[in-house]
């Protein structure tokens, strides 16, 4: 058996998904080792987000297999993903706009610090202790992403870059071991991208997460990812370390044209 540090956390085997007659994901196979910070890149419409949706169970694949810690999760329901210690963010923000930043994080965190229905309606028993615990831990997470001073602001009134950070905070609150980030830097300016780099690297180092990030910003991916998978038109065209990817002829063709 392989050493634990080299164990494949996530393994996709010949994954295929058609939308109508179009193969959005076509016979994709790759695997990600524990503790890696991997990147998934490719031009628009390459099928990157579809892969995330297949992994997290938003829709099932037409064929193929997804293994997570060696367990088959191909037909997992979305709400069971949390039990598998995975969390994700979305390309188009999916915050709860009418809740405050703090509540957005609390609603995720409370999944691990639950109390009973009776305690909830009477506010007796463990309610106070648990609520304080949830609130304190949520504040810690907001602090980590630099949103502690915005805790009581409604999510939809936050500036765009902060909403992106809040989504990461909410994903962190699920206390996952594997984090999927879908274009975390979309729509950010260069300074914000830099700050995001630091944040993602910090999370990766301190919390020992395995992270798979979809990104368009090449500089971000090349800077932080040690392993990169490149897709185009639903198929994998290259896989390797940043140096290999940068000089791969197929990748250059996909991004720069013939």
């Amino acid at each position: 058996m392989a050493k634990k540090s080299n164990q494949n956390v996530l393994q996709l085997e010949n994954l295929t998904k058609y939308f109508g007659g179009v193969p959005a994901v076509n016979d994709i196979s790759f695997s990600i080792e524990e503790g890696k910070l991997a990147g998934l890149i490719g031009p628009n419409g390459a099928g990157k987000t579809t892969i995330f949706n297949l992994i997290t169970g938003v829709y099932p694949p037409d064929s193929g297999k997804i293994l997570f810690w060696g367990e088959d999760i191909t037909y997992l329901k979305t709400y069971q993903a949390i039990g598998r210690n995975m969390a994700r963010t979305f390309q188009n923000l999916r915050l709860f706009p009418h809740s405050t930043a703090l509540e957005n994080v609390m609603v995720a965190l409370q999944q691990h610090h639950s109390y009973s229905f009776i305690e909830a309606i009477t506010h007796l028993g463990g309610w106070g202790k648990k609520e304080r615990e949830i609130k304190a831990k949520s504040m810690d997470i907001l602090d980590r992403v630099g949103l502690a001073d915005r805790a009581n602001q409604k999510a939809r009134t936050l500036p765009y870059g902060m909403q992106r950070r809040l989504e990461i905070a909410r994903a962190l609150a699920l206390e996952p071991k594997f984090l999927f980030l879908d274009e975390p830097a979309a729509g950010m300016n260069p300074e914000e991208v830099n700050a995001l780099n630091t944040l993602i690297l910090g999370i990766h180092k301190e919390l020992k997460f395995t992270i798979l990030v979809i990104e368009h910003h090449m500089d971000l991916v090349m800077e932080i990812c040690s392993h990169i998978i490149c897709m185009n038109f639903g198929t994998k065209i290259a896989e390797g370390n940043p140096m290999e990817i940068q000089s791969h002829p197929e990748v250059l063709k996909a991004y720069l044209g013939e």
Partner: protein, 295 residues
């Protein structure tokens, strides 16, 4: 206190319990309902039959009314709320009408369209106020905790909520069952207050009234719903002398609020420090720039 004032307070308390239930399901969980009068009817008839015919003590009769309404809500909720969309709204219209028609054609058991007379007068001022206080205490506790946050999450974005580990269908059904219980209890209290109930009291008109009060008070604001209900009930009382024409005023007020404040009287805020802060910031014109500094 005159009997008239006492009566109004009783009506306010009973209506408050019913609209809290509708506010939970429509405002907090985002499920529109046009048939909640049906649950009130179930509660009212259950309590009426148990007390008048089988001489039950009124407290178990009221609870039984609430529980039966909750059970019916569960049965109708499971097939319709597993789907995302307005399927429940459509089903609820059918449900409300079906319950009314079953009661009308219930023969000697429900005494049909002529109504059910001779209900013991168990809803006095104390019972109404105590019921309201207990139900409001439980409801506000519920929404200020993990369930309130979960309901709002399922309302705002069911995909994000399900990826946070929430089985959103389960939460929608739970919300509907609780709201069915509230409406059932309100119906049971109404029977004991009016001493006479008939199926026509719980028609589509009553259902839309419940939902419109929630929209009027603010979707997602429990205290807004209560405030809206008090305003609407008092307006219909104040203009009682002009009889049917008061519905004109009722309609006009709904229209005015919807034009001036489409999010409802209280918007999404609850009565409390958060609301005052929001008002203060609105008047101060506090805005945040893109860089996140106060300007």
């Amino acid at each position: 206190m005159s009997a008239y004032t006492e009566g109004i307070i009783c009506v306010l308390c009973i209506n408050a319990i019913a609209v809290m239930g509708v506010s939970l399901v429509t405002g907090y969980t985002g499920i529109f309902s046009l048939g909640h009068a049906g649950y009130m009817a179930i509660g009212a008839y259950t309590a009426a039959i148990l007390t008048a015919r089988y001489s039950f003590y009124f407290i178990p009769a009221i609870v039984a009314g609430g529980l039966l309404a909750a059970l019916i809500a569960y049965i109708i909720g499971v097939p319709t709320l597993k789907l995302v969309g307005d399927y429940y709204a459509i089903a609820s219209i059918g449900l409300g009408e079906a319950i009314r028609l079953i009661l009308e054609n219930g023969g000697t058991f429900t005494r049909g369209a002529r109504g059910f007379p001779g209900i013991p007068n168990y809803t006095n001022l104390t019972v109404a106020v105590c019921s309201f206080v207990i139900m409001a205490f439980l409801m506000f506790n519920l929404i200020n905790g993990r369930f309130g946050r979960a309901f709002k999450a399922c309302r705002d974005d069911y995909i994000a909520a399900s990826l946070l580990g929430y089985n959103t269908a389960k939460y929608r059904i739970l919300s509907l069952v609780i709201s069915g219980f509230y409406c059932g209890v309100a119906g049971a209290l109404l029977g004991g207050f009016l001493l006479y109930i008939k199926p026509l009291m719980f028609d589509m008109m009553k259902s839309t009234e419940l939902t419109s009060v929630v929209v009027f008070g603010g979707l997602g604001s429990m205290s807004g719903t209560l405030l809206g209900m008090v305003i609407i009930t008092l307006i219909t009382e104040v203009f009682r002398p002009i009889s049917q024409y008061r519905m004109l005023i009722y309609g006009a007020i709904l229209v005015i609020i919807m034009v001036l404040r489409p999010e409802g009287i209280m918007g999404q805020y609850e009565f409390g420090p958060g609301m005052f802060k929001a008002i203060k910031e609105k008047f101060k014109g506090d805005h945040y720039s893109e860089e996140g500094r106060k300007v």
